[in-house]
């Protein structure tokens, strides 16, 4: 006797809990592997998942086992040339293990444990504990986000939201209410019946019998009436009422300002691009409602789209203040600081036209910094700091919470610096 069942449509992710447990346990290892991956790979590749490698010994599930040594006797198949009493040289690499066959086993045993995590898991680890700092301005307007809230009970609703306790309580009350008078009559009749049965001698016999029979008939009729009351009526059904409440969302805009002047060599530009790509991925992952404004500048600043920002080859001299002025203009025109959380990230090699750095500081202090939540500046250079850095340091002393400057020397610094800038700060 056999039963044949098609289980293909059943959920296939039965192991997902175990998988999550596994990832949780090896978080530290995975984080390290993710950091390494960011260093090694081009940033566009990062958007897909990643191979994660963990040394095997850190994953061990130990059991008691025999070590190598002692006397081991093993049986092997496929003898071609041996006779009893032959001696074979101990295979090297087997560590004097349990005979020839084990040699390859133990060779394989030291492999690293490699597995794939998917894109979401990868980004999860990549951007864990990072956030846009000082995100405060929340508002209900324009919110696309709703959540459902319990709001009392209704008489109509989906069967899956039925409230059993309420419904049955209602039914009970209805039954009591509708049968009240009938049951009162029943009680009266029953009392009379009891009385007649006990006081046998006082009443005349035939009249008593007649009355008893009548009571009997009335009781049956009344009890039938009570029992005909429906146990549960559609009228009794109560449903949990849920109402849609808009949840406040925070609107944010991120300005990405990149220097593309002639002094920015190809490798510096590359680092800057990777920094911004990382930032862009972070924003896309963590924040659904977010605007990104791309500004590139040499002697003039220009607002561009994503494609042009990352891939255009236009170049020239350097006037940093032009970009800051443009950012200020855009904020005034489009992003009212009352509604928006404003973030600015700027990348440059720190090389600026003489005399412009002062202007930058002025502009920042007056037109930009009072309105932004957070301004991060990364300088990509291996040289000494120049004028711009020192001017920016002055800005930082004015706005210590919302202004950050960091230096990147090589591609390997990008991710650590990025983490530094957007580290979640305890409230």
């Amino acid at each position: 006797m056999s039963y044949i069942i098609d289980r293909r449509l059943n959920a296939k992710n039965k192991s997902s809990v175990n998988r999550q447990r596994f990832l949780r346990r090896y978080k530290e290892h995975i984080k390290k592997a993710v950091t390494d991956a960011v260093k090694q790979r081009s940033i566009t590749d990062l958007d897909s998942g990643s191979e994660i490698t963990i040394p095997n010994r850190d994953l061990s599930e130990p059991i008691f086992h025999h070590g190598s040594g002692g006397t081991n006797t093993r049986v092997f198949p496929g003898n071609k040339e041996f006779h009893a009493g032959d001696e074979i040289q101990r295979p090297s690499g087997g560590g004097g293990g349990s005979g020839g066959g084990k040699a390859s086993d133990s060779g394989e045993g030291d492999d690293e444990f490699t597995f794939q995590i998917n894109r979401d898991e990868f980004l999860e680890f990549l951007f864990e504990d990072l956030e846009l700092p000082n995100m405060i301005k929340k508002q209900l307007r324009d919110s696309n986000d709703f959540k459902f809230q319990q709001a009392g009970y209704t008489n109509q609703g989906n069967p899956d939201r039925i409230n059993i306790i309420r419904s049955l309580r209602g039914a009970h009350a209805r039954r009591i209410a509708l049968s009240g008078s009938t049951r009162r009559q029943i009680r009266a009749l029953q009392a009379e019946q009891d009385e007649l049965l006990t006081l046998e001698s006082t009443a005349p016999e035939p009249a008593r019998q007649q009355r008893l029979a009548e009571i009997e008939r009335l009781l049956i009729e009344l009890k039938g009436k009570v029992s005909r009351l429906p146990f549960l009526d559609t009228f009794d059904l109560k449903f949990n009422n849920l109402v849609k409440v808009p949840s406040p969302s925070s609107k944010a805009v991120m300005f990405c300002i990149m220097d593309v002047s002639g002094s920015m060599t190809q490798s510096i530009k590359d680092i800057a691009k990777r920094f911004f790509l990382l930032l862009y991925m972070f924003l896309r992952k963590g924040y659904k409602e977010i605007d990104v404004v791309f500004i590139r500048h040499h002697t003039q600043a220009k607002e561009v789209d994503e494609e042009e920002f990352f891939y255009s080859r236009e170049t020239g001299g350097t006037i940093v203040s032009s970009a800051i002025a443009l950012a200020g203009d855009v904020i005034e025109a489009r992003y009212s600081p009352a509604d928006w959380n404003i973030y600015i990230a700027q990348a440059s090699d720190g090389d600026n036209w003489d005399g412009d750095s002062d202007a930058c500081r002025e502009l920042l202090m007056k037109r930009v910094m009072p309105y932004v939540q957070y301004y991060s500046y990364v300088e990509i250079t291996t040289d000494e700091h120049q004028n711009l850095w020192f001017e920016y340091e002055k800005v930082r002393s004015e706005f210590p919470d919302s202004f950050a400057i960091q230096k990147i020397e090589s591609a390997g610094d990008i991710y650590p610096v990025f983490r530094e800038l957007f580290q979640r700060k305890s409230a």
């Binding site: 056999s2 070590g67 040594g69 006797t73 049986v75 009893a84 009493g85 001696e87």
Partner: protein
């Protein structure tokens, strides 16, 4: 020659209808050969579901633990890279017996799997003495439901980390959580749940009694030799001992140990009968499908596909092949099962000398008897014939670390048959594969330290995991743990947790 019938199918695609018809045809043949099985529940699943099944040790449900996730991730990775194919089937020793078929298989493969799993393995589960004694096929699924729910509740109450730590330690000791000789009485699930509640109270009481004993003044003058040991007899089931006696565990922790122990016990027969079980199943898929072919129920193409995969399953690469990874239990088991049939049907003089009892007897009866009453070790010792040893060209290599070279001690010739057979059987003795470790003593009156003894066999030392393992023991026991390697009467090496120096400086 039986009358040729119409083949059941001629194409390689399968349908549910065809699976049912093949199953019925195979069931008919199986019944004719006297295969006694549990009812079958055949479930068609996708490859991802197969990987899920892999990672919960083949069970349809299990409690959650990260190690199963690791298993899943490994399997998935290796499968994606093409380093391994998934097994065509998984079959569960339950009643009804659940067998998984993968949807990717062709019709011929599905039929092979049905014959192999639903009639081969299934009848083995139902009739082998080890499975009959140790496992309760009708209760296992219910028990796993109970275990899963219980552990989930523990996680809610005590936190995932606490439970995970405990399970880690239990899993580490899983191989030492089986009774090799004592038979547990089978009980139903409801019973199990009811008893669990009673048990946790009683258990705690017993433990308290053990530890609450107030030392009498007379005890002090006992010298070391007279001091009674606890336990009085060494205990091989370490998890059992900890469950019953560890002083600091809470009732739920004892119950979790018990769950791991029960699961270990359930799988213990499978570990002991790998060669026989696979050999039996391979023998029957081969025999049953040939019976269908003889009746004309399957086509030539079907047979070629079937034989192709059959031969690769029972192929034994020689020791010097790059594919060699030990003796293939499918090959050894299948060869031996076929050989028993040959000895019964066409015995040679050699067979009559080696197997006077079975040479020329009814092969079906002999085979059933062998399947029902042996485990790998005894099966090989009893039934491995010189012919199989010659065919597989078996030879024995002795690796003594004191000598520079390995020695070939016996080969497949007259003077070597007995030695090869003895060694091969010994290789399948689970007792000699794992170090023999037993709970030896507890210092009840003193520091409550637990002493385990490792009885050294063939000079084989403990592996390097011993220190790590003692930490797990220490976690469960809660007080100092010592492990002594014993050779003869002498302690040749000892391990301590916490390490001895640290313990001394602390005290």
């Amino acid at each position: 020659m039986t009358k040729k019938q119409q083949p059941i199918s001629t194409k390689s695609e399968w349908t549910f209808e065809l699976i049912e018809r093949y199953d019925q045809a195979i069931a008919k043949e199986a019944a004719a050969f006297g295969l006694d099985t549990y009812p079958n529940q055949i479930e068609v699943i996708s490859s991802e579901q197969m990987m899920d099944a892999y990672s919960s040790v083949g069970m349809p449900l299990n409690y959650n633990h990260w190690s199963f996730g690791k298993q899943f991730v490994t399997t998935q990775q290796r499968y994606k890279r093409g380093q391994m194919g998934l097994a065509y089937e998984i079959v569960i020793n339950s009643n009804p017996s659940i067998a998984y078929l993968m949807e990717e298989n062709t019709m011929a493969m599905q039929a092979l799997v049905i014959a192999h799993a639903c009639y081969g393995h299934n009848s083995f589960f139902k009739n082998n003495y080890l499975f009959k004694t140790w496992t309760n096929a009708s209760g296992i699924i219910d028990y796993l439901v109970f275990a899963k729910n219980y552990i989930t509740r523990c996680e809610e109450r005590h936190g995932v980390d606490e439970v995970e730590k405990l399970l880690d330690s239990c899993h580490a000791l899983m191989n030492y959580g089986v009774n090799r000789y004592k038979r547990p009485s089978p009980i139903s699930t409801d019973e199990e749940k009811r008893r669990q509640e009673v048990r946790s109270d009683i258990l705690q009481q017993q433990v308290n009694e053990l530890w609450n004993t107030i030392p009498k003044s007379g005890d002090d003058c006992d010298d070391a030799r007279n001091k009674p040991r606890f336990p009085a007899e060494p205990e091989e089931n370490i998890l059992y001992f900890l469950e019953k006696n560890a002083p600091l565990l809470e009732p739920w922790q004892r119950e979790v140990i018990r769950i791991v122990r029960k699961v270990a016990q359930y799988f213990y027969p499978q570990k002991q009968t790998q060669v026989m079980n696979e050999g039996w199943a391979c023998f029957w898929h081969y025999t049953l499908l040939h019976a269908l072919f003889d009746k004309g129920l399957v086509t030539d193409g079907f047979m070629i596909e079937f034989l192709h995969s059959h031969t690769s399953v029972v192929y034994q690469p020689p020791y010097d092949s790059p594919y060699f990874s030990g003796i293939n239990p499918y090959a050894l088991g299948y060869n031996m099962m076929r050989d028993i049939r040959r000895i019964c049907e066409n015995p040679t003089p050699e067979d009559r000398q080696w197997f006077p009892d079975i040479a020329g007897s009814d092969w079906l009866k002999t085979l059933h008897h062998a399947m029902e009453n042996y485990k790998d070790e005894s099966f090989i010792l009893q039934f491995l014939s010189p012919k199989v040893m010659r065919d597989m060209r078996l030879f024995t290599v002795v690796d003594d670390e004191k000598k520079t070279n390995l020695a070939v001690s016996a080969i497949h010739d007259d003077s070597g048959y007995h030695e090869v057979r003895r060694c091969l059987a010994e290789n399948y003795n689970l007792g000699s594969r794992e170090p023999n470790i037993q709970v030896y003593n507890v210092d009840i009156r003193g520091d409550r330290s637990l002493t385990l003894r490792h009885f050294v066999h063939d000079d084989r030392p403990m592996g390097d995991s011993a220190d790590e393992m003692l930490k797990h023991l220490h976690r469960l026991w809660g007080f100092n743990v010592h492990l002594e390697s014993i050779k003869g009467d002498a302690v040749i090496k000892s391990y301590h947790c916490p390490p001895l120096e640290a313990a001394q400086t602390a005290s």
